[in-house]
Symmetry: C2
C-alpha cells in the first residue's frame, strides 16, 4: 500500500466546492475519486487538505489517497489529467509516508482574493476575480489589514454556521496591493481618448496567509476590507470589530469567484 | 439617425467567431444584434471591424451600428451589458460621424498569441492561452520574428482558403517575450522541492501589430515561431519561407484559444 500526495489546481466555477456530497452534485473530490477509481480499477477516495467552498478556486490544494497500484507515483499526474475535466488539473504527484496527511501537518495556507476594478467587467477576468466598479482606496485597505495580523479571536469574521470548537486563529501575513491591467487600459483608450471619470482598469489583490481559517473567514475579511476601501468603515475600526466577537459587526461575505487558494507551505 | 461605435471584449470560447452566420450558430455579432434589438425595440445589425475566428478572443474589437434611439450614446455600454452573456462585454460606446467605419479607417491592430508553457496545464489559464509543455527557446523566436516585420507577401502565412485579392501586408512590429507565472511556480514547489526537469511555469507572448492581416495569418505566424522555438526551423529560414509564397513551407496554424485581439489604434 502506497500513499500518494497530489497537488490539484482547479477552476471552481460550476462546482459545489471541494468536498464530495451525498446528493451527488459535481465537486472536485468527486471528480478525483472517479478518475483514480477509473485509472486503478479499485474504488478509491481521496482525502483533501482544504474544503474550499462552491465557486472557489485553487492553484494547489492537496489531497492524499492510498493505493496498491503499481503505477509509479510521479506518473499519476498525467494519467489522472487525461481522465479529469479541463477545469481540474493535477500539478504533481509523489509518494509520502503512510501516516502523512496535509490536514494534520503544520502548514501555512495562502489565499488570494482578487478584485477586478474597472468601469466595465472583463470577460477574460470574470472567472477568477470579483468585479466591482467602486473606487477603492488601497492605502486604507493596507492599513486596516495590519490589525488582523497575529493570533486573534476571529469570531466576527466567521460564518455563524461554523462548527469550530474555538474561533481563535493566527494570520501570519496580509498584503494588499494593486496591479494595473495595462491591456484593458489601452483598449479603453481606443474609443475613449478623454481622461476618464472612474477607475482605470486594475486588479486589487488581498493576500492572506495563516495556519488555519474559519468557515468563510477569508471572504469576510475581503468583504470587510472592501468596506474600508470604499470608505464605509475606518481602518482602525477593525480592532473594535475583532473585539466585538460578533459576525454582524464585520462586512459582508465577498463572493466566491474572487477567491483562490494559491499556496501551501508544509512546515514539518 | 446616429452612428454608435462600440468597443467589445469577449471570451471567444464556445462561439463560432465574430461574424453572424446563416446557420444561427452562436457568434459575437449575433449576440450584439440581439441585445441592441431588444434594447431599442428596432431590428438592428452591427458591422464589426475584425471577423475573429471561432474560439479567438478580443479585448477591443470594434463595431458600429445606426440607431434612432434617444438613449444617450455613452449609456449604451451598461444598457447592452445587462442584455449580453457574461462572455461578451461592451467596454465603451460613443457617437461617431455617420460615415465612420473602423474597417475602412487607417488602423493598426495588435494581436497577442499567448502560450502557457509548463509541465502541466493550468485550469485558470486554459481559456486564454495555448498550453504546451515543450521547452521553447524564446531568443530564437525573437530573432525569427524580426524577419517578418515590414511589408511582405505573406502568402506562406495565409490559409489556402483566403479570398484576398493580394497577399501583401505590413507588419509594423512583432515582440516575443516571456513572463514567469510566479504563483504556479510556487505551487509546483510545494510538493516537488527538488529542481525540476522541464520548464518552470511561464507564459510566452507573441505580440503582432499590423495594418491588416490575412486569414489565419497571426495563428500561422505563431505556429511557425513555435517551430523555431523548439528547434525544428532555424530563425533565418523565415526569409526563405516568406520568399516561397507557399503555405506548406510555414509551420502549422496555432490553435485559436491562444489568440486575443488586444488593441486597435485608429490613425485617421
Amino acid at each position: 500500500m502506497k500513499r500518494i500526495l497530489l497537488t490539484v489546481a482547479y477552476d471552481g466555477t460550476g462546482y459545489s466546492g471541494f468536498q464530495a456530497q451525498k446528493s451527488g452534485v459535481p465537486t472536485i473530490e468527486r471528480e478525483l475519486n472517479r478518475a483514480i477509481t477509473e485509472l486503478t480499477g479499485v474504488p478509491t477516495e481521496v482525502s483533501g487538505a482544504s474544503r474550499t467552498d462552491a465557486g472557489v478556486h485553487a492553484l494547489c490544494n492537496l489531497a492524499v489517497f492510498d493505493t496498491e497500484s503499481r503505477i509509479p507515483p510521479e506518473k499519476f499526474a498525467n494519467a489522472l489529467n487525461v481522465r479529469l475535466p479541463e477545469a481540474i488539473c493535477v500539478q504533481s504527484a509523489r509518494e509520502v509516508p503512510p501516516d502523512f496527511h496535509p490536514r494534520f501537518a503544520h502548514t501555512v495556507k495562502t489565499y488570494d482574493y482578487v478584485i477586478y476594478n474597472a468601469r466595465f467587467p472583463s470577460p477574460r477576468r470574470r472567472r477568477f476575480t470579483y468585479y466591482s466598479y467602486t473606487p477603492f482606496d488601497v492605502a486604507r485597505m493596507q492599513e486596516a489589514a495590519q490589525y488582523l495580523v497575529g493570533e486573534h479571536d476571529f469570531k466576527s469574521f466567521c460564518s455563524v454556521h461554523t462548527q469550530a470548537l474555538t474561533t481563535t486563529r493566527e494570520i501570519t501575513a496580509i498584503e494588499v496591493w494593486e496591479r494595473p491591467c495595462e491591456e484593458e487600459r489601452a483598449a479603453e483608450l481606443v474609443t475613449q481618448p478623454a481622461p476618464q471619470r472612474g477607475v482605470s482598469p486594475r486588479e486589487i489583490v488581498i493576500r492572506v496567509s495563516g495556519t488555519g481559517f474559519l468557515y468563510n473567514m477569508v471572504r469576510i475579511i475581503a468583504g470587510t476590507l472592501m468596506e474600508v476601501g470604499r470608505g464605509a468603515i475606518e481602518p482602525e475600526e477593525i480592532r473594535e470589530i475583532l473585539k466585538a466577537c460578533d459576525r454582524e459587526k464585520a462586512g459582508p461575505t465577498a463572493p466566491p469567484e474572487g477567491l483562490t487558494l494559491v499556496h501551501y507551505a508544509i512546515l514539518a
